[in-house]
Amino acid sequence: MLIKKNAAPGNAFRQLASPVARHLGETMDRRAFLRRSGLGAGAGVLATQLPYNLIGSADAASPAAAPATGGGEGEEVVRRTVCTHCSVGCAIDAVVRNGVWVRQEPVFDSPLNLGAHCAKGASVREHGHGEHRLKYPMKLVDGKYQKISWEQAINEVGDRLLKIREESGPDAVYWIGSSKHSNEQAYLMRKFVSFFGTNNMDHQARICHSTTVAGVANTWGYGAMTNSYNDMQNARAMLFIGSNAAEAHPVSLLHILHAKETGAKMIVVDPRFTRTAAKADYYARIRSGTDIPFIWGMLYHIFENGWEDREYIRQRVYGLDKVREEVMKWTPDKVQEVTGIAEEQVYTIAETLAKNKPSTVVWCMGQTQHTVGNGNVRAMCILQLVLGNVGVSGGGTNIFRGHDNVQGATDVGPNPDSLPGYYGLAAGSWQHWCRVWGVDYEWVKGRYASEELMTKSGITVSRWIDGVLENPADIDQPGGNLRAVVYWGHAPNSQTRGAEMVEAMKKLDTLVVIDPYPSATASMAAMVRKDGVYLLPAATQFETSGTATASNRSLQWREKVIEPLFESKPDQTIMYAFAKKFGFADELVKNIKLVKDKQGWDEPEPEDILREINRGTWTIGYTGQSPERLKLHMQNMHTFDVKTLRANGGPCDGDYFGLPWPCYGNPELKHPGTPNLYDTSKHVMEGGGNFRANFGVEKDGVSLLAEDGSASKGAELQMGYPEFDDVLLKKLGWWDELSDAEKAAAEGRNWKTDLSGGIMRVAMQNHGMHPFGNAKARALVWNFPDPVPLHREPIYSPRPDLVDKYPTHEDKMKFWRLPTLYKTLQDKVRDISKEYPLIMTSGRLVEYEGGGEETRSNPWLAELQQEMFAEVNPKDANDAGFRNGDYIWVESPTKAKLKVRAQVTQRVAPGTVFLPFHFSGWWQGRDMLEYYPEGAAPIVRGEAVNTATTYGYDSVTMMQETKTTLCRVAKA
């Protein structure tokens, strides 16, 4: 009964019964579970059949005993991998027989998830069925997708891109990478696109937590979650604002509800009464887009009552006076006027956080995806600094990232404004990485159109459509418009202004999609084009190996579970094939071993790519996580403590699970990783730290370094100090502690560029000092447009009176290479709420991920959520004259209209409409099925909310505004 997979390309691997009723006429209300299939008169009306050709035998071998390779006839092997659907990083044991993934077992040993999964994680084995995946390369011919060979695909796509590069320069091609790539793939992609000669690349982090990364890093050093899901068990109070963890990070609730059970207070502030709110002790409803006034409102009470941690602020915080001036303007009446939250509620929340310390805060897209996103997140940081909660177990800013590897892709992946490890784009950064890559700096420079473009940030993924549509004279790059876009693991329906996106797609010369599930992009393109679109099948993370960085900065190694299905190839293999076509294959893999896959393709080995990352990424401590150390962790999960994440005995004794970055120094230094950032109660060699000295030592005559007495435990100098370089080492008289080889490597360099790691070693191991110095956190970020976060109304605001009081920024002419509108647009639409009176906001469903093509193609998940819907308050529904379950039109000021089911519920307040963002495949009322490549349409299709979203971008990172815009609703 077992069917052995045929490895030859082009073979259909398995004849599956007809795909689960793609045309299922029956539609379901999200909430009316009881009425659904199983219970409807016992009818099972939707029942159809899945084949039983995947029979597992009795026993899953224990993972420890599983051989690394194997899987001979009938033999079962267990491969340990990690869920690819969110940043919690739940471990999975995949049982494989004869190359077929037959079962999935929980990993109770994992300290991150203790065996638990949400619906998505419990369903990942379906990737091994993959009926709805793209099975072979395809090309749009006369409006229809046709199968082509890989060879033809690489040649045609390569020739087209080379021609564009020739004619319009390398910046005319835009590369959209992925947060679902492994670290190795994301890193290789940065390098690959650099060698193509452009910084025009980006990935999901832009539209997910870019404001967090920029805001938080500029406040205290690193742009990441400071603590961990596990550490929340130590919190005594938790504030969730703009986070619906119960749906977006379900397994985090295992730790959170445990903490609640042992006494922590749980507070949720959100425009929606979310499932997270349903579990909270306290809930307050906020008007979407008014986070800063609410946070200042809390700080008002904190300052009024003297609840701030004065000693902490004195020693470790810079520039709080200016913040205080702004905060004291936000008297309770003003806060209520803007946010809608009453004084006693704000007071209660502030008091709860102040009196139940350590207290922690959690935020997600509800804070980041706003025109004031960078201000929102910095206000949260300031709140935590004032309470003295940062660098404290149980405290911190627990910023839950989205995709499984969005943290890692941000750290080392395709960012338009930096090289791996946040090195920036200055010549020195390029020289550093060229040394690591073993290539000539001048050669790389020659690949770019000019040195200026090499050091200038590229266009962001949130704005690529403007890169195509904007008047070329207004684009800040000599080549003018973008002519080709490569979507490499990214959904189109996650970017705003979808109505304009199809116009941009129409105008492109070439559109390439590389993805296991490319269908959203494919169908949108086929709707408006006849040719010039290529689809290439990528393998999922279960069909290759590599690391992913969970939200808590822990790296986990995924073993390859199965061979790539159908004709798909892992991304690193595809990259190498294109590098060959482009003529820089040797440069791409100078230090990286190639292995032949079953079809004779060259695959750059993930282990070797990780070793190269290790050699170069000193800034954020991606240097100690060698593949060997990580694999050891994966096999010894049971030795790690769940609350501290620290191994107690065993082969990983003393390490923190997954060596959460920064894990400084060479692997040989055996740094244990850093469980909680900036924690002065620990020695730096034990994962301790302090705030980073990244912004100079003084500003306007005021020192930025930490005050005397504040430093990490055991530091030889218990005071503030600058970051380490060769000069400081000599001044301190520690230079001779370097070996001769280290001296040669360290001369003229600092801790970030010393490839020997000697400077770091001496500072940390010999003297307990932090290589990045010891400074204060900045409450005042002088290099941002609003040094103190200010409330500014969203561009599309429901309150014209408040727009006058709290206007947005001035327009920017050259911002990430594009002109960007603020004030002129806001003025123009000041009164548009008369026509579009309701706030339109979007968010997550537990069953789906991101753009949703992958999860909506999975029958186990698709069955649970069969239709796109909008949550509307009963009052608004009655005013508009429709009832629960009716089809309605949701229309935004762009005039785009979405046809969705009405979910009439008090979950949203009157005046707010909520739409989930995982759907695509309908276009303004029309099913796009005919535009999909044959057999690769997802099971469930629906309107994409972003077809209707409006213009609006953060003033620092170009994050898109998705959470506050306007709409009106009418019965369809």
Binding site: A58, D59, H258, K643
Partner: protein, 75 residues
């Protein structure tokens, strides 16, 4: 191949109840005894995995129950 349990299920249940009868309330409803007319089933510890070692089966199950209690690993 494992040996097929020879008894019909009700007999097995009855035998078990005899053994456990002194200390425990019967959990299987009496009136159904002897009425079941389907195929006989084997016990979970018979066959492949445990090969009749009931104690080992019970230990294994006990371990699995414990792993559902995160308080066992978290304090």
């Amino acid at each position: 191949m494992k040996p097929r349990f020879p008894l019909r299920l009700p007999a097995a249940v009855a035998a078990l109840l005899l053994l456990a009868g002194c200390s425990e309330e019967p959990q299987v409803v009496q009136y159904e005894q002897g009425k079941y007319q389907g195929k006989a089933d084997s016990r979970p510890w018979e066959g492949g995995t445990f090969n009749g070692d009931k104690a080992a089966w019970e230990r294994a199950l006990h371990e699995r129950v414990r792993s559902q209690n995160e308080y066992q690993r978290v304090e």
